[in-house]
Subunit: 200 residues, 2 copies
């Protein structure tokens, strides 16, 4: 059994959302599983000195256009949310909390959170929205709400972010296969070739 | 006759070099010509607040790997030059000087300069190397050497850089087709779809 693929992402990244709709099926064609690893882009940007998305940036008009065009290109439904970008601490913490209880439920929650944001336009920065989304997947909403406001889960996400950066991740989506790093949803064709040939 | 495609690039960008080996043939399949427009990434980065490539950056190991992998993926010969990145004022100025005299010669020179850097490992920041490369394409080396040290050509490149930034270009390679912007050689599949369908 080949080793699993690592998929690093932040829930606020449209390109990460597009990757989230593609990577599992691609990996499955090569008998690979995928470990989903949400982190906070803000922490990675601070480490690398990069700037987060800003509507004031000269790149913003291009990026907004490219999000839309890339979604169409990949056949994934997408609408720019009214609130964008947004804070994803609650979503990422909820993911790790669920992951420790039920990996399948965590995966379903992650898909639901991405789609709530990029199809439904919901404000997934709010802990209430996150608890509701998790409960829709069958999770214990009350227990999650409690966990979200306790220090342990905050420390857990901090540790995950530190590990992510230590692994060379500086943006999202970021996929690592057998140590080979791929940054951006536009690397899907190179990921496919790598999985096919085990090299360049 | 459909309108020409604009191809903006800096000679020091490996991704721009890869695009330079692909864009003309792709455009020709759709009866399009391509206008090559060298500019200085440093000027664009200053305008947008972005950082130039640096071996000190946390992204550097990834980028160096990705240059190589992307070249293999696209089937283009590539070796990281010993001197990288390097200053491309002379190359860009020579291009515009040649362009005004003989567009075909300018195109041949641009290919030669990219290949001298990314296949031959030659130091194309030097005006002597640039004059030699132009002379190899049949240009008048002596006249070019004189033009390179006169103010008019410097002003010309300044104006081209300003026009490039005014067109929304913030990186390289950057391709604009009928007003639609595409950033990065990884947008080749989206460029092809756009040329096929005239839209998303």
């Amino acid at each position: 059994m080949p080793s699993p693929i690592d998929f690093y992402f932040d829930f606020t990244s449209p390109y990460a959302y597009l990757m989230s709709e593609k990577i599992d099926a691609l990996a499955a064609r090569f008998d690979r599983s995928v470990i989903w690893r949400p982190f906070l882009l803000g922490v990675a940007f601070q480490a690398s000195g990069a700037s987060p998305f800003s509507v004031q940036s000269p790149k913003a008009p291009y990026l907004l256009r490219d999000f839309d065009r890339s979604a169409h290109f990949l056949g994934v439904p997408y609408t720019l949310p009214a609130k964008f970008p947004l804070a994803t601490q609650n979503a990422a913490r909820a993911y790790y909390w669920l992951q420790d209880l039920d990996a399948q439920q965590a995966r379903a929650f992650a898909h639901a959170a991405f789609r709530a944001l990029f199809i439904g336009g919901r404000d997934i920065s709010s802990s209430g929205e996150i608890v509701a989304l998790a409960a829709e997947q069958g999770a214990d909403g009350e227990a999650l709400a409690e966990a979200l406001s306790a220090p342990a889960l905050k420390e857990r996400l901090k540790a995950e972010c530190a590990a992510t950066i230590a692994n060379g991740v500086f943006g999202a989506p970021f996929v690592i296969i057998d140590g080979e790093p791929f940054f951006g949803v536009d690397r899907l064709p190179q990921i496919e070739r790598w999985l096919t040939s085990g090299g360049f």
